[in-house]
Amino acid sequence: MVESFTHFVTFGSWRALFRELVRATVVFTLTAAFWAVSVVLALALWGHQPAIGALFLVLCFAHIPLLAFPLTIFPTIGYRLEQVLRLTVYIFFVAGLTVYLKTPLTIAAVVCLPGWLLHFFLTEWRLLNR
């Protein structure tokens, strides 16, 4: 679910595939949680106190573009699409904070960035290493 289906071709066995899927899911979940927590803390530093439930909703909303993830199976074009989708998640999150939680745009853009970068780089680590 988390990693692109297309990564699966490189694994040799179902066990290796499952192990890889679990590892990727853990990395994704932990970095996403870190992202949410870092946003809450950064907003608190700026004097904003968003409701955790509302923030969770915005985070879910931000991940809607990932519904297009199956299209990343296309060679090369899909690889670029994957990067674009992840960038879109960031943009949607910033937009959600701005529109729904009334956070100023610049502050929303800044507080979302560190967590998103970590989330992006860790989930894309293997690809970026190639």
Binding site: V9, I73, F74, T76, Y79, L127
Partner: protein, 295 residues
């Protein structure tokens, strides 16, 4: 109707990764040590691998014009051993008329092509091969695909002998992809001579001791197609492998004449080139011969 046509056109791209995935899966199960196909009977001074363009059908089948070009290059460079039996658009060197699900379709298209060259149905073969090109250039599938291609080349090439890839159009990317996996094992310099070559930002380019791109004056846009989806080719990305290689002095672009990309006056053309007594193909062969002399 339009959506059906679009779907049919996208289908080869969608299915392209599955061929590599299937090959990789089968290979992991039945992997056997591979012996070279032929032992060299005489010393090779230099070996040349020819990769055809995205309209390619199999490694064994070459168009008459392509054969004529290779023959002339062979005449100009004695001691050259030419290998063209690797089909670059298949990780397992499986030609389009090999054991495939759509074998009948490809054979039917090929028969049509022999009757009417450059007919509209050719686009299906071209799209299918472009799909494999994109697989080779993709950082996710590419290492697997290129490993397969390199494996096929290892069977046919002799280590320690300078190797030149002569690649037409999309074949250039396949050469670059294979070079990344091949260089360490061949233990000899690799060179690439591209005829209107289409490159991607594959890091394999750095494995070549030299890259010579022959470009016709009328071949204006095809060679730049890669820039559409490969950001590493954009000039401002000075840190990309491609841009660093381009500036290293190992890359040369040579105007080959009035060649176009596909047609009677392309790099293999039998028509007489203007203001010379040579055909377009002979012009290309002479230039390739000169490049080989300098290696």
């Amino acid at each position: 109707m339009i959506s059906v046509v679009l779907f049919l056109l996208l289908l080869p791209l969608l299915l392209a990764p599955f061929e590599t995935a299937g090959w990789w899966h089968r290979r992991r199960i039945h992997r056997e040590p591979l012996e070279p196909l032929t032992q060299p009977t005489k010393e090779r001074e230099i070996q040349l691998v020819y990769f055809t363009g995205v309209a390619g059908y199999s490694g064994d089948f070459l168009a008459r014009r392509e054969k004529a070009l290779l023959d002339r290059i062979r005449e100009e460079r004695p001691g050259l051993v030419v290998c063209h039996r690797v089909f670059p658009y298949s990780a397992s060197n499986l030609p389009l008329d090999g054991e495939r699900v759509f074998r009948s379709l490809w054979m039917w298209l090929h028969r049509w092509r022999l009757k009417i060259p450059n007919n509209v149905f050719d686009v299906l073969i071209v799209l299918r091969n472009i799909g494999q090109l994109l697989v080779s250039a993709d950082p996710r599938y590419g290492p697997v695909y290129n490993e397969g291609l390199a494996e096929q080349l290892r069977l046919r090439l002799v280590p320690g002998v300078p190797t030149v890839f002569l690649a037409y159009s999309g074949g250039a990317q396949m050469a670059v992809g294979a070079a990344g996996e091949l260089r360490a094992e061949l233990k000899a310099p690799l060179h690439l001579v591209a005829l209107g070559g289409v490159f991607t930002d594959d890091p394999g380019i750095a494995e070549f001791a030299s890259v010579t791109q022959l470009v016709g004056r009328k071949d204006r846009w095809v060679i730049h197609l890669g820039k559409l989806i490969f950001p590493g080719l954009w000039r401002w990305q000075f840190w990309s492998t491609w841009n660093r290689y381009r500036k290293s002095g190992k890359y040369r672009e040579v105007v080959s004449g009035d060649h176009c990309h596909v047609g009677k006056s392309d790099y293999f053309g039998f028509d007489k080139a203007p203001a010379t007594d040579k055909t377009y193909g002979e012009q290309t062969a002479d230039l390739v011969g000169k490049v080989l002399q300098r290696l």
